[in-house]
């Protein structure tokens, strides 16, 4: 487990620095296992956000304590408990994985802390399990695949084969595309996930091809993405079974795919709520500083983590550092008065963002690096399908 006293580093050795009041943010992500590649990207974005804020949220110093979920719900809950009970943090943020967030939510919410998801968006927590102290700077899982479903309808795709990992988000993702796609679903495979995830998809790809579908929809986040795209290309399916993916081809998998020369990925289309090419001042600063500091484009995971820290800082500033008045603090978070990297940002009734979704295309930038750019806007101010199930006003 890492501790990062960013505040101390930035405040330097000022005489009063040692006793300065601070806001403690626990940040749970994956720092070991192959999925650590996502966690690293998020950690970088969090540190960049703190740096952009000058280490301060209003009058308070920002102290971020990272926790490692080891890509599993048991370790994720332990890391969360440690942050809540031992470190007594004021906010708990992060969470890549839906099953980890579902396992950890109670620890945070029962302790009266504010929980902010920077990625996972399980349907349960947007709907029946919604909570005044739970906010998201990402999306509800179903939204991104729903946008992809709309794109498929527009492109005239008649039949679709689905592949996703067998866990909470994998089920939400396939449910999402099934909700908006009007054609026929000819087959579906849910593959083993977790620390011993299945990464050889030979059997599933052979089935998908034999199904005769017009397209293949997949959701394979993190390290699995590279493996999937390679096998898709090795199987030579590009012309026969075009690939439509969500959370698979992104700022994390593209540099590796480029390094290994898997050019079939160029031109492929994905849906997302954010893109490095979005034209607003906050995003341009974030993307250019991130690239300069870490050498790659930030992924959407990074963008959402950056927003989570900016959101927390804006709320702490709005209450002038008074973290005791929970109602005021909660209202300040809900107001979302910060410069989001996706432009305008507002919360819906269930504290999930109400936001645009874009179709992005994989392209080569001016420097020869593979990245994505916005092709069109699919949804404007989209509200997730579970908001109605949430009892909050």
């Amino acid at each position: 487990m890492k501790k990062l006293f960013t505040a101390a580093a930035i405040a330097g050795l000022t005489a009063t620095g040692a006793s300065a009041e601070s806001v403690k943010i626990g940040f749970v992500t994956t720092l070991t296992t192959p999925a650590a590649v996502i966690g690293k990207d998020m950690e970088n974005a969090v540190n960049l956000a703190v740096e952009h804020l000058g280490g301060k949220a209003g009058p308070l110093d920002i102290e971020v304590i990272f926790g490692d979920d080891q890509f599993g719900p048991e370790a994720g809950k332990q890391a969360t408990d440690k942050l809540v009970k031992q470190d007594d943090v004021d906010f708990v943020a992060g969470y890549i994985w839906s099953h980890v967030l579902l396992a950890s939510r109670k620890s945070v919410l029962d302790a009266g802390k504010i929980l902010i998801s920077a990625n996972a968006g399980p349907s349960q927590m947007a709907g029946k399990l919604c909570d005044p102290n739970f906010f998201s700077t990402s999306w509800q899982n179903d939204q991104t695949p729903m946008a992809m479903g709309e794109v498929l309808n527009k492109q005239g795709v008649k039949s679709l084969y689905l592949m996703a990992p067998n866990y909470a988000a994998g089920k939400d993702m396939t449910a999402g595309v099934e909700r908006t796609f009007t054609g026929e679903i000819v087959g579906k495979d849910l593959t083993k996930w977790g620390a011993d995830a299945q990464l050889d998809f030979s059997a599933e790809l052979a089935k998908a091809k034999a199904s005769g579908a017009d397209g293949l929809f997949v959701f394979y986040p993190g390290a699995a993405a590279g493996a999937f795209v390679k096998q898709y290309q090795q199987a030579g399916l590009k012309d026969e079974l075009p690939l439509y993916s969500v959370f698979t081809i992104d700022g994390i998998s593209l540099p590796k795919l480029q390094q290994a020369g898997f050019s079939d990925v160029l031109g492929s289309k994905v849906t997302q709520e954010w893109d490095p090419s979005l034209d607003n001042a906050a995003n341009q600063k974030f993307v250019s500083d991130f690239k300069e500091k870490f050498g790659t484009y930030p992924s959407f995971y990074a963008a959402q983590s950056y927003d989570a820290i900016m959101l927390i800082a804006s709320a702490v500033e709005a209450v002038d550092g008074n973290l005791e008045d929970k109602d005021a603090l909660r209202a300040a978070v809900k107001a979302a008065d910060f410069e989001s990297v996706r432009g305008s940002f507002k919360f819906g009734t269930n504290n999930m963002p109400v936001q645009n979704f874009y179709l992005r295309e994989v392209v080569e930038d001016a420097d020869g690096n593979w990245t994505t750019q916005v092709a069109e806007t699919v949804y404007t101010d989209h509200v997730d399908s579970f908001a109605a199930e949430c009892s909050m006003e």
Binding site: P34, A36, K188, L199, A210, L257, G261
Partner: protein, 307 residues
């Protein structure tokens, strides 16, 4: 269900089985002859993949990189035997497990420090990126056939070595009764070192072969080691023949289960229920097989004759 899909899935199962055999054969050699439980076998699989990945970028050709990486991995295995395993032979299995589990953590962290957390994608030569058309409906990625060929070649070489060479004779003798081998004046320490290095090279080869399909990543061996243990338990610990047959069996059952179980389930339950229960059952399938074998033949399908 058409035949070409069945043929493709059988080939996929064969490929998985052969990779499993490469890992399991080293494990069964070390367990059978040295009586040493080596969980760190998984790390040698991972290190093989990483070393080969780095070399691929350094020398520019994947197959050349494999040839260089093999002796390097064998040397690593020899080092593990000499400095970690040897002092522990007289201890019981639990100590072996503790030490080699610690070794996994050390190797994982070392890989994290050397290569970073993100893993390395391994590019294949252009000729092996495509597919081979066996017939109009029967198309298989060329590289999958390369894995099958390499796996069969390694299995054949191993068979020849075990049955037709002096080293093989000693290995068989060691598996049956290693005290007697030592009493006959054989340099048992040298034999153990060689066996360990051979096992490491085989595990490394499996890691190298899978790397272009998935990638070299931290902890990749931990996924395969559990299945490899299932293989050697089903096959009979210490038996090469058992490891080979069990590996192919497990590879085929796993692949065919993943391919056809949901279709079979749809015959007698609703499509929704089938789609939910099939992945759960196919993930358990190999363990169910292991439980059945253990119940009927506790020594495995092909136990070595004398222990």
């Amino acid at each position: 269900m058409d035949t070409s899909l069945l043929v493709i899935q059988t080939l996929n199962g064969l490929q998985l089985g052969l990779l499993l055999f490469l890992v399991a054969s080293g494990l069964t050699l070390v367990f059978g002859i040295l009586d040493f439980v080596n969980l760190a076998h998984a790390s040698l699989y991972m290190l093989g993949a990483f070393i080969c990945a780095s070399l691929t970028y350094a020398v520019g050709n994947f197959f050349l990189a494999v040839l260089i990486a093999l002796p390097v991995t064998a040397l690593l295995g020899w080092g593990v035997e000499r400095f970690i395993a040897r002092p522990l032979y007289s201890r019981d299995h639990l100590d072996h497990v503790l030490a080699t589990f610690g070794l996994i953590l050390v190797f994982d962290t070392a890989a994290h420090l050397i290569w970073g957390p993100e893993g390395i994608a391994v590019p294949l030569p252009q000729a092996f990126r495509g597919q081979l058309e066996l017939s109009e409906t029967l198309v298989i990625p060329t590289y999958r056939l390369v894995i099958i060929a390499a796996g069969l070649a390694a299995a054949g070489g191993l068979y020849w070595m075990v049955t037709h060479t002096r080293l093989g004779m000693l290995i068989r003798a060691g598996a049956s009764n290693r005290r007697m081998v030592a009493a006959l004046g054989i340099n048992i320490e040298l034999l153990f070192g060689l066996v360990f290095a051979l096992g490491a090279a085989l595990a490394g080869l499996a890691g190298m072969l899978i790397a272009p399909i998935t990638e070299a990543s931290i902890g990749m061996g931990n996924q395969v080691i559990i299945t490899a243990f299932v293989v050697i338990i089903v096959g009979g610990i210490g038996s090469m023949k058992g490891a080979f047959i069990a590996a192919l069996l497990i590879g085929l059952i796993d692949t065919l289960g993943r391919s056809f179980l949901d279709d079979i389930f749809k015959l007698f339950m609703s499509p929704d229920a089938a789609e939910n229960s099939a992945p759960a059952l196919s993930a358990m399938l190999i363990y169910i097989i292991m439980a059945c074998v253990l119940a009927l033949k506790p020594q495995g399908l092909f136990p070595p004759k004398v222990r």
